[in-house]
Symmetry: C2
Subunit: 302 residues, 2 copies
């Protein structure tokens, strides 16, 4: 029976989380631990959370969602994890004995959010260190022809906006990415929360940062709505943990634009956005439910 368990792992900048799912996609066990950066730390952390949710050899498959570019089981440029290149699927397959699939973490979370929803058409807008989205169409994650579908963070919305790490000016991510905001402020993992606190105290620079964040997030929502037109747009990621403090200014920004444009108003974007419920391990669940038949690396290939 335990051989039927599918395991999903979500590797985040701060925590690595795993779930095991039974044949009905119900969560059987769940575990998490602090992420240790670097190749060895990340691989050991993944193996540890897998061991915590299934008995040895008990995973029929392991799906891993991880930041960075992913192709053929390899992870590239996962800057927040201090990984430039890692053959993660081979490493985990060799040491766990399971069939292993690896994908980008936003994709995995998009699939996880789609579970148990009536609507199979949604976008997941991740406001974290960077800004990226995942698109679910007809219940399946839409990757696109080059695997970049949803990478809207690097669309410029203002040629006079802040310089982006990508080289352009005024990218959505330059306004609404936690990394860009940290680089312009106090820095550190709480830079965005700090900016909201100081904005509450009336600090002009902080007010500008919060306004820019709302502007970038609203532009991301409009871009997804007009290019892809999903029924729901779910906002998650580290910045979304601010909850109502984030939602309120984003809503105001969407409403302001809708007041100026009957067309935008007709889209009712204010009713179509929602914040991801914290505490539900959508990233790990989505990773567990990925279709590994198409992309998996078996032990024999490891």
């Amino acid at each position: 029976m335990s051989a039927q368990l599918r395991v999903g792992v979500d590797v985040g900048g701060s925590t690595t989380e795993a779930v095991s799912l039974d044949g009905s996609a119900r969560v059987v066990a769940r575990a998490e631990r602090r992420t240790v950066r670097g190749k060895e730390g990340v691989v050991d952390g993944i193996l540890a959370v897998i061991d915590a949710v299934v008995p040895p050899g008990g995973a029929s498959s392991v799906g891993i969602g991880i930041p960075g570019r992913v192709s053929d089981g390899r992870v590239h440029d996962a800057v927040n994890l201090d990984i430039s290149d890692l053959d993660l699927a081979s490493e985990i397959a060799a040491r766990s004995g399971a069939v292993v699939g690896v994908e980008n973490d936003v994709r995995a979370a998009t699939r996880g959010i789609g579970v148990d929803r009536f609507s199979s058409s949604l976008a997941y807008l991740n406001l974290g260190t960077g800004v990226a989205a995942g698109v679910l169409l007809d219940g399946r994650v839409h990757g696109g022809s080059r695997g970049v579908a949803g990478e809207i963070g690097h669309l410029s919305i203002d040629p006079a906006g802040p310089r982006c790490a990508c080289g352009q000016r005024g990218c959505i991510e330059a306004f609404a990415g936690g990394g860009a905001i940290a680089a312009r402020t106090t820095g550190g993992p709480f830079a965005v929360r700090d900016a909201f606190d100081r904005a509450d105290d009336g600090d002009p620079a902080a007010l500008e940062i919060v306004a820019g964040l709302a502007r970038g997030a609203a532009a991301a929502v409009r871009t997804l709505a007009l290019a892809v037109d999903p029924e729901r747009i779910v906002i998650g990621g580290g910045i979304a943990r601010l909850g109502e403090r984030l939602r309120a200014p984003v809503l105001r920004e969407l409403e302001r634009a809708a007041e100026g444009s009957a067309f935008l108003g007709s889209l009712h974007l204010d009713e179509r956005i929602e914040l991801l419920s914290p505490g539900v391990p959508v990233g790990a669940i989505g990773a567990a439910l990925a279709d590994h038949r198409r992309s998996a690396l078996h032990l024999s290939a490891g």
Copy 2:
């Protein structure tokens, strides 16, 4: 045998074109006539081109692509045709006796462009009076949850940009739409071509218009590439009839942005855009190939 013919009609601002297709989707006959604006002129024009491509009662179905918003066979706000509201499917079904489906013209053309291509993943960027795109995924037109997928013309790329008819500032359409350009220049149907001519003569205002057009078109291409990630992006519409005169500045704008951003460079957008070949009636062919089973209006319902 003639009962097997599927008819497609493309209603444009200047011409109304029809094709009839055999069971293998080959063009059997083709006809066009000048579009006469207003409800009566449009309906009569459609019936005339249908009669020109099939014998009376010989159409198994009629698909119509027309500008404006389309829902349940009705056309709304087709400004260039002087139509605010028209139950087009009922009108044509009642007078032709055929099963009739109506859809937006950009959607129909997107499907028509996809015919005979190896790649079933493409976007069609229409640069006409307005700017809108159609998205083909897995060989099917992706309409979205509210029928606006691809309506990227009203995404703002510059808060200091020109005022758009929609109420916002700096919309892609305000830069790259023929209507917006006409409103800012000499006006008339040749306003864009006039601007290119004057730009060739070094006129500063015209150079700015051409630069803005290239900027808006390049932003539209990037938006489609990052949100939807189709393999190919085909540019058509009235402005695309400028051919190389349009393609060159759009390419330069894409290359300029790619030079500043390794991420954008990695997308090879310069190799993925193409101009729609003039002369192929993709709009009428696509309209003929629409799946009328889901949305058609039969005579009995007319």
